[in-house]
């Protein structure tokens, strides 16, 4: 299937349209909430919660006997919340660190979930096929009602975000200050955490337990590189998440044997990599360029200062000197000298250089500034 065909099908074919819309909405909501998780330094909470949701799914199935994804999601939500609260309990009341608490809840809940799933499998009457789709996710099983549910929750999440925007923001950056201002930090904390849990649980069916954490983190981590404003970051993360969903679905639909979840995660990872390298302010490439530029500037200034020291005792500052006396140690390079000439600080004739009065003044100020700094 070609890309153009995909675009056509995305509008006409029911299944493909549902999946594309579903992954896009999912990407948007996880991107939005992921921004908060990343900034709160709770990046791995997503990983823990998605694993902790598994026993909830199994128990919901054991109790109701229904495979309706909405009922199972409620089970997942409850057990995800219990997991989160227990993590909080472990880190606040014992000496165990947060990483241990996360790893504990993650593996213990997941193992318990596996026990339940295999137990269900052995039950004679249980028609459990399809429960394990939550392990690795199957976007293909999305139906229209799932997408509606996702859209509904995304809308709800947007409303809550807008309503509590300033509370969320202040809690994020200065919790103590929020407390002194009289905000109920516990309530806000639980509110935002519940929404994060909700978003993760929503994604389980699509990308699965293991990859859910990346859906939460990657768009936010990528968006973080482009802006320092929370609002812009949340917006950008939502867009990046949605486009990762759409591109991932497109790629996996045009290839044989490619499950959607991993492809979406890889697309999101590529976004992160791209942002790490090419973001103008924080990106590695521009940082490197700035570093080299600064180093060159410093070297040129060193040369200028050296020249200044030579000519400052002369009556005529423009008296020419030989270029050969400049060397590497004073930061001399041909490029640097050319730069000085371009700035009209120095004139070069043959093998000799002479300082202009403009250059002398500049060097004098340079020296003074340095003197002040020392």
């Amino acid at each position: 299937m070609e890309i153009i065909e995909f675009v056509q099908l995305a509008f006409s074919d029911y299944t493909l349209r549902t999946i594309t819309l579903g992954t896009a909405v999912l990407g948007a909501v996880t991107g939005m909430l992921g921004s908060f998780a990343v900034l709160r330094k709770e990046s791995l909470l997503g990983d823990a919660i998605s694993h902790a949701a598994l026993p909830g799914i199994a128990i919901a199935f054991l109790i109701t006997g229904s495979k309706d994804s909405h009922i199972l999601l409620i089970g997942a939500l409850v057990s995800g919340l219990i997991g989160t609260l227990w993590i909080r309990g472990i880190t606040s009341k014992t000496y165990l660190k947060s990483d241990t608490a996360l790893g504990l809840i993650l593996s213990l809940f997941f193992g318990f979930g596996m026990l339940l799933l295999t137990y269900i499998q052995k039950q004679p009457n249980a028609n459990q096929a399809g429960l394990d789709k939550y392990l690795f996710g199957q976007a293909a099983t999305l139906v229209e009602s799932d997408v509606w549910l996702m859209t509904l929750i995304t809308g709800l999440c947007l409303i809550v975000l807008l309503l509590f925007w300033k509370e969320f923001k202040i809690l994020l950056f200065d919790k103590d200050y929020a407390q002194t201002l009289g905000f109920n930090t516990k309530f806000i904390d639980i509110l935002i955490t519940s929404f994060i849990v909700l978003a993760i649980v929503l994604g389980l069916q699509t990308v699965g337990v293991v990859l859910m954490s990346a859906m939460l983190l990657a768009p936010a981590a990528a968006a973080r590189q482009w802006t320092n404003s929370l609002g812009k970051m949340v917006f950008l993360a939502a867009i990046l998440g949605a486009s990762a969903g759409v591109f991932g679905t497109a790629i996996s639909a045009t290839q044989n044997n490619l499950s959607t979840g991993p492809v979406i995660v890889l697309v999101a990872s590529i976004f992160v990599l791209f942002s790490f390298i090419f973001s103008p302010k924080r990106g590695l490439l521009f940082k490197r360029i700035r570093l080299i530029k600064n180093r060159n500037d410093l070297e040129t200034q060193k040369t200028l200062a050296f020249m200044y020291h030579i000519v400052e005792d002369h009556d005529d500052v423009t008296h020419p000197h030989t270029i050969k006396m400049l060397n590497n140690f004073q930061g001399y390079s041909r490029k640097g000298l050319r730069k000085l000439v371009d700035k009209n600080y120095v004139e070069v004739e043959g093998g000799m250089w002479s300082m202009t009065s403009k250059g002398f003044k500049a060097a004098e100020n340079l020296y003074n500034q340095n003197g002040k700094n020392v």
Partner: protein, 386 residues
């Protein structure tokens, strides 16, 4: 108990011990989540190794996968060094990407061979006795037993050889470096052992159980002791205990052995988390309550010392002035009485001689603000604690 059952339990116990040892250090070094990352990101290594060797137990495959595990750690550290994101975000970015590559590789190229993601993540202990090693005609036992046995042996040798170095660099990295132990070598050594153990164990017990076996016993032991040797010993004990009991529960329920061992680990941790003598939840909550009451008591005694007029020392006044609820003021009063710190005559409270002495010392403590003083003081003066 049949031979197969015995072999399964033996393998489970060996895995438990092999995981508990590196796990203890991971928990102490606050790197528990790294084990989760490694357990997922070895997948592409396993897949590539499987293409090359066509054997899930071959040493080459284990080596390749372990290298992927160490690579994960390197990637995480590289991303961290850029300071673009925090450490935990770096972990969360690296392992899903590698895991995705693994899943895609399997789906694309290994669809029809014996290797699927379920097997890697969940493992199946029950099948391990069927894959045996033969020397000529002689049956040498299950392959997994050999694999995990040799990994455990190497781990033990390394542990005994480098115990002092590991201990030092775990608790005081600065001192270790200044004494000339390279923290980098120790760090990557530990990471390599953790990776190799994860890879060696995944076939038998699955990647998730490996994480549980590394973290849960160590975390349980951490709540019980402050001695490294005891912690390692306890962690191994909890691991083996959960492995054996988990096996029999799985046998009874006819469910996944890995899942049931993890559940046992969870139950062991839950019990210790609640009831550990000084670090458990109940002990902590009890201590917090005790300290709250004792702080109230000191406040109350200070108040008495500062006021000679009767109005300020009336029992009812406590409720108004210090704004305590009835129950709380009653607890404080009873505690003070029991400890012979106060006398109550006609509802007027006055300090006894012992109370005076305690209060003066308490003021000294408040002025110098040395936390160590107060607990000794309480021990000296209190007959009954709050």
């Amino acid at each position: 108990m049949s031979d197969a059952q015995f072999e399964i339990q033996l393998i489970a116990c060996l895995v438990a011990v092999a995981c508990a040892i590196p796990g203890t250090f991971l928990v102490l070094r606050k790197m528990a989540m790294i084990s989760d990352a490694i357990s997922h990101s070895i997948l592409p290594g396993i897949v590539v190794g499987f293409f090359l060797t066509q054997d899930l137990n071959s040493p080459l495959l284990i080596l390749l996968a372990a290298i992927t595990g160490v690579l994960t750690v390197v990637f995480v550290e590289k991303i961290q060094q850029t300071k673009l994101v925090k450490e935990d975000t770096a972990i969360g970015l690296v392992f899903p990407a590698l895991f995705s590559i693994g899943v895609i590789l399997i789906a694309k190229f290994a669809n029809d061979v014996h290797l699927d993601v379920d097997a890697v993540l969940l493992g199946e202990l029950a099948f391990t006795p069927f894959d045996r090693v033969y020397y000529g005609e002689v049956d040498l036992g299950p392959k997994s037993l050999w694999v995990i046995g040799s990994i455990l042996l190497v781990t033990l040798i390394l542990l005994f050889a480098f115990f002092k170095e590991l201990k030092l660099s775990t608790f005081d990295a600065g001192l270790a470096t200044s004494l000339g132990f390279s923290p980098v070598i120790l760090h990557y050594g530990l990471m390599s052992v953790a990776s190799i153990t994860t890879v060696g164990a995944f076939d038998a017990v699955g990647a998730i159980l490996v994480v549980a076996l590394m973290i849960a016993p160590a975390a349980s032991a951490y709540l019980l002791t402050t001695n490294l040797k005891k912690m390692i010993g306890l962690a191994c004990f909890f691991g083996v205990l959960s492995a054996i009991s988990g096996y029999w529960i799985a046998n009874f329920l006819d469910a996944s052995i890995a899942g049931s061992i993890t559940t046992m680990l969870g139950i062991v941790f839950l019990i210790i988390y609640l009831f550990a003598p000084s670090k458990g939840l109940i002990a902590v909550l009890y201590r917090e309550k005790q300290q709250r009451i004792e702080v109230s008591l000191i406040t109350f005694l200070l108040h008495l010392k500062n006021h000679t007029e009767k109005r300020e020392r009336h029992v009812n006044h406590l409720n108004e002035h210090i704004n305590w609820q009835k129950v709380r003021s009653k607890t404080v009063l009873t505690l003070a009485l029991k400890n012979n710190m106060i006398l109550i005559t006609d509802n007027i409270v006055s300090l006894t001689k012992k109370g005076e002495e305690f209060t003066s010392k308490a003021i000294e403590y408040i002025l110098t603000n040395e936390d160590s003083l107060i607990e000794n003081m309480k021990d000296d003066f209190f007959l009954f604690r709050g």
